[in-house]
Subunit: 221 residues, 2 copies
Amino acid sequence: MMTTFSEENYLKSIFHLEKAFPSGVGTNVLAEEMETKASSVTDMLKKLSDKNLVEYKKYQGVKLSASGKVSAIEVVRKHRLWELFLVEKLNFGWDEVHDIAEQLEHIKSKKLTYELDKFLGFPTTDPHGDPIPDSEGRFKISKRTLLAEMNRDETCICIGVRDSSAEFLQYLDRNGLGLGTEIKIIDKESFDQSIYVQIEGNEKYISSKIANNLYVKRKNE
Amino acid sequence: MMTTFSEENYLKSIFHLEKAFPSGVGTNVLAEEMETKASSVTDMLKKLSDKNLVEYKKYQGVKLSASGKVSAIEVVRKHRLWELFLVEKLNFGWDEVHDIAEQLEHIKSKKLTYELDKFLGFPTTDPHGDPIPDSEGRFKISKRTLLAEMNRDETCICIGVRDSSAEFLQYLDRNGLGLGTEIKIIDKESFDQSIYVQIEGNEKYISSKIANNLYVKRKNE
DNA sequence: ATAAATGTTTAGATTTGCCTAAAAAATTAT
DNA sequence: ATAATTTTTTAGGCAAATCTAAACATTTAT
């Protein structure tokens, strides 16, 4: 059965929110994420439930069904492949690709998705460090450490962002931070959780807010 | 103002039909092209007229306004760029790209269109030999000769198709015909307008129907 | 345990794009 | 010139996706 753009967007949002709400995603939370009203969400959940894409009982929150999860992952796969395409092949910055990928993720063509994947060399991560599901929907959920969790004198490498808003990404660009950047923790200020780091020779101050939105891996791990 | 997918499709159809109906495209003709009903067309024409995208007077047929033409050409540009992308970069056959390009042509991003154009080397023709408008909407309207108009002993080169249905394109594939193929007219049968041709050394019979859907240019012209 | 607050659903409208059936205008044929 | 035919428009409805306002459930606090 054919899914509409709107249905796909709901499935994708439920997919993302299920990580934080494994027992069921609430109507208000979903409304917030979808930038719509709770009543609209209820309407749509009935529709998705009728199509067996979600498990929904009144007042109980919603979960993806098996087939709903397949659809959601397919959309996420397309979104991330297109983001990578835009960055790798069309000179886009990582802060510019989200809105366009939101459109491209709804293009329906199995062959297109497969050929795009092949064209990009069957990549496993997108420009923000998020995993790209393969054609079977499989992907790595690597345990990611926040920069904020690192200790003094440790060295790590930036592998992803938790917040992928253009504002945050542009902040990172301005401060020489990107995927693969090596960061050495010089000192941590316990009062406000800010940290001093060394990035490519330069010492930088990083606020707690930033450190809590950057994923890193320990060097030599 | 933002155009919807449906509006864009109407504009594109009107654009194409204006060649055959320069004095105004009729409601029924447009309904046929759009695979919808005449009453739906009337509804949409009112909407497009309110947005000043078409010039429409009841019972008089419709024409694109200046801004409607800009929008229509933009959609055609995107359609043809995406078709070329699919063929050149993603291993699609020329018979497989239409439906996907129908989806991709509605993606809204000036930068994407420009970067795609650049990525493809600012091409001027799509996989079916149709001109690709540049970023200013300019394109060549080359006078194209039909194979059926060629005479005995003349040699020509296939430069486009009038019918770009998958069925016709697959027929051409099966018979070794593609853009750039050299065709020498051996003989013409006046009774049914069929022709005998030589294609890469092999003699082939070509029906009037085929010959009337293949654009060629005379060799050395 | 009951009241207050929060979260969720229902009821009724709206907009977009489409439909059928019927009316009106334009064209064609006699 | 008028009748028949074709084309186009209008009127009224429907489904998708949204909204506001009001009702209903559930949870939290006293």
